[in-house]
Amino acid sequence: MFIIEHNQGFSKFQYAVCFEPVFWGPNNQCGSCPFFRLEVNEETLPPNRQELFQLMGTGLHQLKGALQMQVKLLGIFALLLTLTGCVTPPQPPVSLNAEFLTASDNRIGVAMDTMPSPNLQLPGANCLLCIAVASGANSELSAHAKTLSTEELAQLKAEVLAVLKEQGRNVILVDDPLLINKLPKTKGLGEGFAKRDFSSFAEQHGLDHLLVIDINGIGMTRPYTSYIPMGAPQATVSGTAFLIDLQSNKYEWYLPIDLHLGTEGEWDEPKDFPGLTNSYYQVLESLRDRVLSPLTIQAPIAQITE
């Protein structure tokens, strides 16, 4: 309901239109009306009632527009609230639990999720034409990226197994493809816990813990803004490595991986791109070191405490 008020209590006349009673101000006035206020002073006060009502009609028309705008803004605000509510905050890194290394009776499985094929990513080339232009400009590099070997990464699972075995851990290889995205979701566990339920591996393989290497991006990347390259390509690998308690789905170790490396010297050396290829294998080695070193370095501490 709209209230139209003619207030003569101040130095100037005020004709205000407000919602009632929500924005009704103190002393029964429209002082706090946030939407719309039509103000006239003594000089601009219409000389007769007809013109005053015309003026108020204009005011009401403006009020309608203002209200429509407010409704739109409220709608956008509500949508943003909904969307941000849906976004899950990323899992922060979790240091390797030292108890894991000292508990020698734990049975640990080592698994690797299905690895994507190496390729060239062109982030920032978003429109269809941009993608076509960027892909055409980098076709040789893209073809080369597809020929890169992932054998080094495939061996990482066996290397992790060997490192843990050296420390006297009861460890087995889980050869089944993990298909993490097809595992059932966990509910309400929050930060520090997996979003998927890995407990089925406990029964299937008789495990207490599962160490997972999950690679979700590998190859080269070159940033774009629409049609324009924003820098030289880089070798890249991304994913996670984590150790999970299969009873509680709690992370005992969580290592996010997002590694990049440019070339030493020239990068544009088709068709074998030796500089970038070298960087690619250096990135894989860096990933290997980051996964193996926490397991390796802490081993002597575990031996001492035992």
């Binding site: 982030p123 920032g124 990347t221 590694l259 990049h260 490396l261 290829t277 294998y281 080695e285």
Partner: protein
């Protein structure tokens, strides 16, 4: 009439004689194929043109693996301002990059300060043996290496060496980067020949030391010994590669891990061979590298070999 006939006969005979002479001249200019020089059991004359002193640099640090990608956001209110901002960024970036590279070079060369006098006192020719030396390879073959004299002897392979030395950032080792070109010494050379014949860049890195003062001890004796050894080793590696005396390199590339500046360094390449101290491989860019093994210090068999040598 008779006179005219005799005159024309003489002209014809003269023309024929000239043609014959031309044919003879062509035969004289035609290249006579030389018997190929022996590559194995051959004589290699090392030539160090245009260098008296040592060219020395400090090692520049290579970029490290980072956890975030590179990218730049440009203001893009309209196409014109967007393109202007890119052009401006490119111009600024070029000068910034150049300045940054120069700063990095200067910073890298600071490591040479304690050795500057020693470097200036050392002559490149002194690092090569002036007398000829016969080198026996592991597979029972041999060849002879000597420092080339002026004028160049024409009885062997003209081995042109262009070396640069690089002191590691922690002063623990020296690497030589030698561009070695090997040409038939019997043929007078042009600049084009140097480009078109056998040419190979060799990197040879010395074993690390744990006290950098060792380079300066005994008036730089160890420094001279190592740099001399690096120069000769790089030449040997090039000759052996040229003569086919190196072991066949692996057909598939692999990840090579070695010691550099006190840390593990990783490079992709084709493995050629290993000694107890060094790994030899061909890099993806085609350079041949001989670098210290990661485990050389803990290799007990290796320690025994080093002690006996």
């Amino acid at each position: 009439m008779k006179i005219i006939l005799i005159g024309s006969l003489l002209v014809m005979l003269g023309a024929c004689a000239t043609q014959e002479q031309t044919a003879v001249a062509q035969q004289k200019d035609a290249p006579v194929p030389l018997a190929p020089l022996d590559v194995i059991d051959g004589q290699y004359w090392v030539d160090l043109p245009g260098q008296d002193g040592l060219t020395f640099y400090g090692q520049q640090l290579s970029s490290e693996v980072s956890s975030n990608g590179a990218g730049v956001m440009y203001p893009g209110g309209d196409m014109a301002s967007f393109l202007v901002s890119i052009a401006l960024h490119a111009a600024i970036q070029t000068s910034v990059t150049e300045a940054k590279e120069q700063t990095q070079r200067d910073a890298a060369n600071l490591i040479l300060e304690p050795y500057r006098e020693l470097i200036n006192q050392t002559s490149l020719a002194d690092l090569m043996l002036s007398s000829e030396e016969t080198v026996d390879t592991d597979n029972g073959q041999a060849y002879t290496v000597g420092l080339a004299s002026q004028p160049l002897a024409a009885d062997g392979w003209h081995t042109v060496v262009d070396p640069v030395f690089i002191m590691s950032r922690s002063s623990d080792s020296i690497t030589i980067k030698s561009k070695v070109s090997i040409l038939d010494g019997r043929i007078e050379l042009t600049e084009e020949d140097l480009e078109s014949d056998f040419s190979q860049t060799i990197f040879f890195q010395s074993l690390p030391i744990y006290e950098s003062e060792k380079w300066l001890r005994d008036d730089g004796e160890y420094f001279r010994m190592v740099t001399s050894d690096l120069l000769r080793s790089s030449v040997d590696l090039a000759i052996q590669h040229f003569a086919g005396l190196s072991p066949p390199q692996a057909s598939i590339s692999s990840t090579i891990r070695y010691l550099n500046n006190g840390e593990k360094k990783v490079e992709r390449g084709y493995l050629i061979g290993q000694t107890c101290t060094h790994i030899i491989f061909e890099s993806l860019r085609g350079d041949i590298k001989s670098v210290p093994r990661l485990d050389w210090a803990g290799n007990h068999g290796c320690a025994a070999v080093l002690e006996s040598s």
